[in-house]
Every structure is written in C-alpha cells, then in structure tokens.
C-alpha cells in the first residue's frame, strides 16, 4: 500500500492511497471538515468508478469501523477477538454539550466505562485525568470499556 499526501491550498489536504491490488482511493479532507472520496479501479485513471461525500461525523464513524475499533471480525486473531467486546471511543465536547465546564468527577460514567484521557487541542494529552480536571469546549474524551457501557455513556450525553 502506498499513501501520498499533498496540500490543496484553500481546500484542504488530499490523500491518494494505492492498494496492493492497484485500486486507488483518493480522499480529500476539506478544511470545513467535509470528506470527499473517489474510487478508481486499477488501470483506470480517467474517471472515478465511484464518489462519496461524508460529513466530519460520518467520516469518523466510518474510520472507526475501518480501524476495527467498533467491531472486530473474528478472523483478525484470538487476542484481538477477545478485545472485540471492548471498544474505545473518542467523544468530542461540542458547543451546547452538557460536558463543557463540568469537572471530570461529575461525568456520569456507567459501570464498565473508563475515561482514559482528555485530549485538548494545542495542549499535551492529559492521561488518566483526575476528577478535578475541568472540561472545555473542543476537548476530546477517550473512553474505553464494554460496548454497552460506552454506548450508554454516549447516549446519556
């Protein structure tokens, strides 16, 4: 697999991924958060076989599925399939979220869900944050645990 990355000034960044099969996937990540996908069959350079637009949120979900975070197929191997029941989720504190301004200790973590880290843009990662850490808009919570617990947490927010 070969990945090429170029900047598209004013638009965003373009990634061209050539698979072992010779098929190519072109992904444009727009500055606005939109993703544009084009799929070219091996040997076909002119017109894409398929094109797809994703919103930022959709792209993250698809990315998580592709990375095997949400669902681990059995074929991946023994150790990982055991991990299959556990998931890691990234939850962003968006404007209007109940989390903004709250302390970590006040987050209603269901049993089985654990807060691994808080990622604040432009600041070093806060691993294993203590209950006194105050959440801000734009923070990303890294949560791990059983799928049910993490889903329940996401719903409750």
């Amino acid at each position: 697999m070969k990945v090429e990355e170029v900047a598209l000034p004013g638009v965003g960044r373009k990634f061209t991924i050539t698979m072992a099969s010779g098929d190519r996937l072109v992904i444009v990540v727009h500055s606005s958060g939109k993703r544009e996908l084009q799929y070219f069959e091996a040997g076909e350079d002119d017109e894409p076989r398929a094109a797809l637009d994703l919103t930022d949120e959709e792209a993250r979900e698809v990315g998580a599925i592709l990375a095997g975070v949400l669902f681990h197929p059995e074929a991946v191997g023994d150790t990982q399939s055991k991990l299959g029941q556990k998931v890691i989720e990234w939850i962003k504190v968006l404007p209007g979220s109940r989390l903004a301004g709250k302390r970590v200790g006040e987050i209603p973590l269901p049993p089985g869900a654990h807060l691994l880290a808080v990622d604040r843009p432009g600041a070093p990662l806060v691993p294993n944050p203590g209950p006194e850490v105050v959440l801000e808009l734009g923070d990303t919570l890294v949560v791990a645990g059983t799928r049910e617990a993490v889903e329940a947490l996401k719903r409750s927010l």
Binding site: V6, S32, D46, G122
Partner: protein, 377 residues
C-alpha cells in the same frame, strides 16, 4: 433607522434571489453577483453599502494570504512548479502586448500582471462548489495559484507605491511584519490558543484592516497589506481557526464586493475602445495554451490538461486591485481591461469549468472503453 440598512437589505435580497436561481441548475453563485450588479447596479445606492464591499475585498486578500502564503511553497510538488513556470510566461508576453498597445513600461507591467494572475478565491470556490477537489488537475491548478499569488504580491509591492519612497516603505514594512512573525510567533501561538473565538475574530479584523491602512498611509498598496496579514496569521498557526471564523463574514462582504464591481463597471467601461476590448480578449486567450502546455509538463492526461487550462481562466480580486491601481496611476485603458477581463472570465470560466467533463468527452471520446466493449462483444 440608518438609511444604509435599506440599501443593504435590497442588495442582500437581490443576491440571495440570484444565488437561489442558479442553485437549481447546480451553478456556482459568484458570477451571478457580478451580473446582478451589472444589471441592477444603476438602481442600487452602492455607496451606502460601504464599508462592507471594501472589507470584503480586504478579507478576500487576507484569505488568499492565509491559504496561499509562502509556507505552501515547501509543499509544492515539482509537477505544479513546472506548470507554474509555463504559466509565468504570461508575464513577459503580457508586457510585450502592453508595449505594442502603446503603453509605457509601468502601464505594460500593470497589464502583464492583470493578464497573468488568475483568481485563487474564485477558482477555489468553483473547485469546492463543483466537487472537483479530488481530481488530479485541481492539485496542479492550486499549486500554480500559489506561485501566481506570490509573484503578484511582489509585483504589487513594486508597482503599488507612490514613487520610490512608497515602494521602499512598503518593502521595509513587509520585512518588518515577517520578522515580527518569525521572532514573536512562537510566543503568540500559545497566547492565541487561550483566546476565545470572539477575541480572535476581532483581533484578526483589526489586524487586517489596520495593516491595510498602515500600508496605504505609507504610500504602499493596501492590498499587499491585507495579503501580508494573512501570511502572518498563517505563520502564527491560525490558518484553520481564522478560515472558520472569517469565512461567513468574508463571504457576505465578497458577495457585496462583486455586486459593487458589477455596478461600477458600467461607468468605467463607458468609452471602451476596441483596443481595450481586444487586449482583454487576447489576455484571456493568451494563458490557455500556456496552461495547457504546463498541464502536459505536469504529467496530466490530455483531458486533464484541458481542464487545468479552463480552471485557470477566472480572474478576480488581484486583477481588480491592479486595475484600481492602474486607474489611480493614470492608465484608464489598463483599468478597463482589468474590469472587462473579470466581467467576462468569471461567468465564462464558471460555465466552462462546470461543463469541462462534457467538453472533454466531446473532444476526446473514450476510445479505450469502446474498444474493450467491442472486444467483449
């Protein structure tokens, strides 16, 4: 109520109507703003809209500086640079054209700049609106635009000053800004991150307009000032944040700016001579073969290099900046050429880019597939 609100409501309503009309046909709205101004301008009190249109232009140049600053040069591929070199041949050719039309060297240099520079803002917007960002030709076109904007910023700094004092002041001020960004940048980046969005928006607006005013006061081009503030902001790591914060304000200002350009064009183009019209048409045609050749050198296929040449047709912000400069320095012919080129190239370019795939298909029918199908049959 302030009377300017009435003018604003009328203008915004007209623009919204125009944008809504073309939206149905999958067309980008920018050319409609120009045409609305051209058709309805004489009934609109455009003076009342100030300072929004002027602010729109400054923010547009700021955005161009933000996105097309010199730090992009590092990321430029060899392909785009090769295409950019061919593109730059438009400068000497345009200069020659100006001399042949009887202009003095300064006027000819202004004309060369106007012929050379394509509009990054218009082209980026068209590429995004028409969903062409993933195509190989877009990469080459955007790379060419990086080079164009830097060359034209230099040209503007050299030609924009009132006399040698203005030029010197402009260059010194530009160097001072860049030195300031380099020295204080790292400290400011951390400070800026703790600022709220609102504060960054206000600071950015004050910085941009303040820099433009400062450049103007020193006898240099205010356009260069706005472009330079964008470059400085990008080097402070504010690119994404300011793009997001300024986006809506800028788009509103730019829509009004293009409306005013259309409205004022009728007055400026009165007394247009065949020489002026001929220069504008030649200027538009001149770059097509150059960019086609450049596209070929950048390794684009025959269809894609045609697209690349068409993409680079629209002229816009910098052409108008150069045009108003030409008017101020006593070259009304050059100013007319600039306005006419923008007026023609934005709608025409949008149309050609929109239908580029159809044009490509008509010129180069897909033989390979036909042959494969014949074989299969």
């Amino acid at each position: 109520m302030h009377p300017s609100l009435e003018a604003f409501a009328l203008a915004a309503g007209l623009l919204a109507l125009g944008a809504a009309l073309v939206r149905r046909f999958g067309f980008p709205p920018l050319p409609v703003y120009l045409l609305t101004g051209l058709l309805m301008g004489h009934r609109l009190p455009v003076e009342e809209l100030e300072p929004l249109p002027s602010l729109g232009l400054l923010l547009l140049l700021f955005s161009v500086g933000l996105e097309f600053g010199p730090d992009r040069l590092k990321e430029l591929s060899g392909r785009a640079t090769r295409a950019g070199l061919y593109d730059a041949l438009a400068l000497p050719l345009g200069f020659l054209l100006g001399l042949l039309a009887g202009l003095d060297p300064r006027g000819a240099a202004l004309l060369a700049g106007i012929i050379y520079i394509s509009s990054s803002a218009v082209i980026v917007k068209l590429i995004i609106d028409l969903r062409r960002a993933a195509n190989p030709e877009s990469e080459v076109v955007l790379g060419v635009l990086v080079l164009e904007d830097l060359v034209i910023a230099l040209l503007l700094a050299l030609l924009g000053g009132h006399g040698p004092g203005g030029v010197l002041a402009g260059v010194l001020l530009a160097l001072a800004y860049l030195a300031f960004a380099r020295l204080l940048g790292p400290h400011l980046v951390r400070l800026m991150e703790s600022f709220s969005d609102e504060l960054v928006l206000l600071l950015g607006a004050a910085f941009t307009t303040g820099t433009a005013l400062l450049f103007h006061a020193l006898g240099a081009s205010e356009g260069v000032g706005a472009f330079l503030s964008g470059m400085v902001a990008a080097s402070l790591g504010l690119r994404e944040r300011l793009e997001r914060l300024f986006g809506p304000v800028r788009d509103l200002g730019v829509a009004l700016f293009f409306l005013v350009v259309g409205a004022e064009a009728t007055g400026l183009l009165r007394g247009l001579t065949p020489v002026g019209a001929g220069l504008a048409l030649l200027g538009l045609l001149l770059k097509l073969p150059l960019n086609h050749l450049g596209g070929a050198r950048a390794g684009l296929g025959r269809k894609r290099r045609l697209y690349a040449a068409l993409y680079l047709l629209p002229r816009g912000e910098f052409n108008l900046v150069l045009g108003s400069l030409a008017l101020a320095q006593g070259y009304p012919l050059v100013a007319q050429v600039a306005v006419l080129m923008v007026l023609l190239s934005v709608p025409l370019g949008a149309l050609l880019i929109r239908f580029a795939p159809e044009i490509g298909k008509a010129l180069f029918p897909p033989e390979k597939k036909a042959r494969a199908a014949a074989k299969a049959g």
